[in-house]
Symmetry: C2
Subunit: 214 residues, 2 copies
């Protein structure tokens, strides 16, 4: 398997964690979002992923975009070390937590959105940062409320083993810290983040550990 | 089952289609996003859904937020009339298409985002509309490319029966038409939209058919 990835992409980071948790070997193909006017926008990459976004998984020629679709695919094709619980309600909860990050929070901080703010909308760098922090806080407050209010929350987002939800939580915290968000109001998220940070699968998926971070 | 819904919410519309395709009976609980300063923001609703977003499914007391998590849950708990293909690659493709709408396109036109544009960022109504149209075009262009380039596309997004991807496509076209997006560049999307519009499950889920549309 090959993963088209960018070290700082939150969505690619999720998939790297999932691959590592499942112990799957893969090769990284770096797509630099800031070089060549954005390598994800080049025709060669658009043929691989018409959405012009990372990540893309190439599994023996089959191309899959969208981080959550990739992780669900890995779950079905490599079920050992499961990243979803066995029961339907548990699976629903883990997917709800994952989408709270992947659909409600992350898209608003995407590079192309930030470019539109400072480009078409003529916003300052300061207003851009305030936008990023606002939506990171909104998303993390929702995630904290979901986690803190449920007895299903364990050492990790759901019980005592990592799931798809943790694959989403950790990259979101990375972004929050990168953009100076005060994480003190989110003690449950930060407790789970610390637990994940102790695991090699998460450590090796960290942006700083990627070859293209150099 | 009860669905907390708002007639014009694209995410709630997806779930209504899925419930109808599966022939599941449910009661609608309207949450009006524009009344009482936004009924989704009231403490009573936040107890049901801490993200303060619609929809929420109440299945005998179990509360599930996030439209795609709800539809995956319905798929697992009521597998007849499947909304995902049987093979892992087909399922991955359908989820990729669904997320191209639900994660890449729809969140940027969410009501709270539009409010931030005209509020905190002081943008005009005209700039807000341009923003909506820009991200609708970006998302639909990606979806069109994914659909038009694949031999897996059939009468519907994936083969000749409706799937989760069609549950997402139709509400996205509704939004695009509502905000004056020219859909001529998206012939595959519009062909599939027309096929879906012929089915009672889609017709009955349409915003105009909901009790809270009055």
């Amino acid at each position: 398997m090959k993963l088209y990835t960018y070290f700082r992409s939150s969505a690619a980071y999720r998939v790297r964690i999932a691959l590592n948790l499942k112990g799957l070997d893969y090769g990284s193909v770096p797509v630099h979002l800031l070089r060549d006017g954005g390598q994800q926008l080049l025709p060669a990459y658009r043929e691989i992923n018409p959405s012009a976004l990372v990540p893309t998984l190439d599994d023996d020629g089959a191309l899959i975009g969208q981080s959550l679709a990739i992780i669900e695919y890995l779950e079905e094709s490599h079920p050992s070390v499961p990243l979803l619980p066995a029961d339907a309600l548990g699976r629903a909860r883990v997917r709800m937590l994952a989408l709270t990050v992947a659909a409600d929070t992350h898209p608003l901080g995407n590079l192309r959105v930030l470019k539109y703010l400072t480009g078409e909308l003529g916003q300052s760098e300061q207003a851009k940062l305030a936008w990023q922090q606002h939506w990171l806080h909104t998303g993390m407050a929702a995630l904290e409320a979901l986690l803190a209010s449920s007895s299903d929350t364990g050492l990790y987002c759901h019980g005592d083993t990592p799931t798809l939800a943790d694959c989403c939580l950790v990259p979101q915290v990375f972004s929050a810290q990168r953009f100076g968000v005060d994480t003190a109001p989110y003690p449950t998220i930060m407790r789970i983040h610390a637990a994940c940070a102790g695991l090699p699968a998460f450590q090796q998926a960290h942006p700083a550990q990627q070859a293209d971070a150099q």
